[in-house]
Amino acid sequence: MQATTAPEKIPFLRDPTKRSILYQLVTMAGVALLGYYLINNTLINLERQSISTGFEFVEKEAAFEIGESLIDYSAADSYGKALLVGFLNTLIVSCIGIILTVVLGTILGIARLSTNWLLSKLAAAYIEVFQDIPVLLQLFFWYAFFYEILPGPRQALDLLPGVFLCNRGMIFGVPHYHPAFGYAAAAFVLSCIAVWFLRRWAIKRQDATGRTFPLFRASLLMLLGLPAIVWWLGGAPTEMNVPVLSGFNFKGGITISPEFTALLLGLVLYTAAFVAEVVRAGIQSVGKGQREAATSLGLRPGRVMHLIILPQALRVIVPPLTSQMLNLTKNSSLAVAIGYPDFVSVAGTTINQTGQAIEGVALIMIVYLIFSLSTSAFMNWYNKKIKLVER
């Protein structure tokens, strides 16, 4: 009788909870042991071959030049700064690349679904061709296109006054530094914040009264107008730093190198083909009835897309879009093949000059991990934000 009242004792290995804890502990110990073995073995091997380890090299003078840099850099700076230059170069090509890819991919994806036969087939042909050619080949093609087609600097094409195109890149004038530009930039940031508040107010007012507000036009006016007024009040400086041919190359102005352009173009055109398919899948995932219902309510086609289709399609689009963004960032490491000094290229030179291959490769891995994790984090946040609110 007593046996039925007392809880039955389950043998340790039969208890699924305890068993799973045990398995996890055993697995963890196994992984830790393997890790310890690998690290220890490597350290011993390095020791025996008398290869020095550590990150002391970061502070040594780099003693090599880098073709393009967003910050001031010279061969007298440290390896650390050289690596920072490479990091920023990767960052800028990835950021601009991702923005252009999303824009182009969306246009292509919508064009692919267009009822216009020609437009839809053209988009389809584009997607098939660019998806199927390896991105490295595309990079070689665009790079060769620039240096083979364009003339040398002495015969540079003068597109507009002060804008030159040659096989050294596109060179154009920029305004000379003047404090007014700083104030104008600050005004731009301010008007961005103001627009954000304006939008909140407009939505609130519409919810309360039903009256709409011409938000887009008002925002545009503020974003452009305010900085322009500040620039004008600051003395309206117009002096330009114009590029002039001196010696072999242009001096002054800003140069966008063929390496950068080829890399950007190659990555954007390639990745946009994948993004187009993602966008198409997303739009097609929204039931046909949704569009018909919205239309029968009297919404205009733009509003149907904006208010009904897109919010639902985005849920399907965002996760695979994130992975395409990550692909673009990682593919940017192919830059080394066409001479753009990205992080991998600079780290490669550093590795060779210092011989610290393990440290250098680790840095490369960490940097790409940072890029990938921050992109993912942002896109996950965005994904949560657009999630369908179920009532």
Binding site: T53, G54, F64, P258, P341, N352, L363
Partner: protein
């Protein structure tokens, strides 16, 4: 923190290094597998590049062949691993190759930090500049503001930056990994000049659409003793590689060629007798057959033959002996006595 900073990268590469074998007996390892794995350039005309039939040719290739002739008595027992400037040292460190004959410059840090041992130099080189004649430049000192095509991962990047700094000139480097891609960009006019070791520039000029349109500027801005390398920690293997190179130099000095070597076996000169193993001793000291030097010269040739065949004035590279002449002719090629 410091400990952590050291272990993270170590984890990264431990997978490849963990598998590397014990490196003590390279000679035994090589004999067991039956061939020598040599790391070479693979794309450098005159030094290491397969010809149109797929047969490897070049000065560095012949150096690897000399080692094979010494070890196996058969110069063909070599397998080649084409390596980039970046991967070459790692390939040697990790045990992927047995010897590196890939126009690598001997430097202090490579001899120490990288855990390598360089042996006898097989080509004394220096870094120069290749320019199109149409550029109208006579000296490297006129290159201020130039776009410079540079091969990455070599001492060249540092040398050229140093040179422009000393001359207080500006430069804009274009760094491309592969020699072929870099040359294409240079010939198309992407850069004003190209910099690398002078021998390499000669090789690149030889494959230009029109070699006569290009010239090498007179300034040589660095010392580049190109030497084969082996791993630290195996002195016997280092001796074998070292003396395989030296044997070719010694043979040239002794007047022994691949053509006359069989007559020379009957020579009464004790130096020649010792060299060719007629009076034994050298082979045993190295752990090789007594006819190791005979095999090298018979199958590969002496240094002069190898030089003229691969890079000499009658080849498309058109290089003079210069520093690479024997010391008796005013060059730097000098071998210790073979006794």
């Amino acid at each position: 923190m410091k400990h952590l900073m050291r272990t993270i990268p170590v984890m990264a590469a431990s997978l490849c290094l963990a598998t590397s074998v014990a490196m003590a007996g390279t000679l035994d390892d090589v004999k067991a597998k039956g061939f020598i794995q040599a790391g070479v350039n693979g794309d450098l005309f005159g030094f290491a590049k397969p010809d149109e039939k797929g047969v490897w040719r070049g000065l560095d290739v012949d150096t690897a062949r000399a080692v094979a002739a010494a070890v196996f008595g058969d110069a063909d027992k070599v397998k080649y691993t084409p390596l980039t400037a970046k991967t070459r040292f790692t390939a040697l460190q990790s045990g992927e190759i047995d010897v590196l004959t890939r126009n690598a410059t001997q430097t202090l840090s490579r001899d120490t930090d990288l855990g390598l041992n360089f042996v006898q130099v097989n080509y004394y080189d220096g870094q120069g500049f290749l320019v199109p004649k149409a550029l109208g430049v006579e000296s490297a000192k006129e290159l201020d503001g130039a776009s410079v095509c540079v091969l990455p991962g070599t001492t060249t990047e540092q040398n050229v930056a140093d040179y422009f700094r000393v001359q207080k000139m500006n430069m804009n480097p274009v760094v491309i990994e592969s020699t072929a891609e870099l040359s294409k960009a240079f010939f198309a006019g992407r850069c004003d000049c190209m910099t690398s070791d002078a021998s390499q520039l000669a090789g690149i000029r030889a494959v230009a659409p029109n070699p006569a349109d290009y010239k090498i500027l007179p300034e040589i801005i660095s010392k580049e003793p190109l030497a084969p390398a082996v791993r630290h920690g195996d002195d016997q293997w280092m001796d074998i590689v070292n003396y395989s190179v030296l044997a070719m130099i010694e043979a040239e000095e002794l007047g022994i060629t691949s053509a006359n070597i069989d007559e020379m076996m009957g020579s009464t000169d004790p130096k020649v007798q010792r060299f060719l193993g007629v009076s034994p001793g050298n082979g045993k000291a190295l752990g090789l057959d007594e006819n190791w030097a005979y095999n090298i010269i018979k199958q590969v040739g002496n240094y002069g033959e190898v030089f003229e065949r691969n890079v000499g004035v009658d080849t498309p590279l058109m290089l003079e002996r210069g520093l690479n002449a024997l010391w008796t002719n005013g060059g730097l090629m000098y071998s210790p006595p073979f006794k």
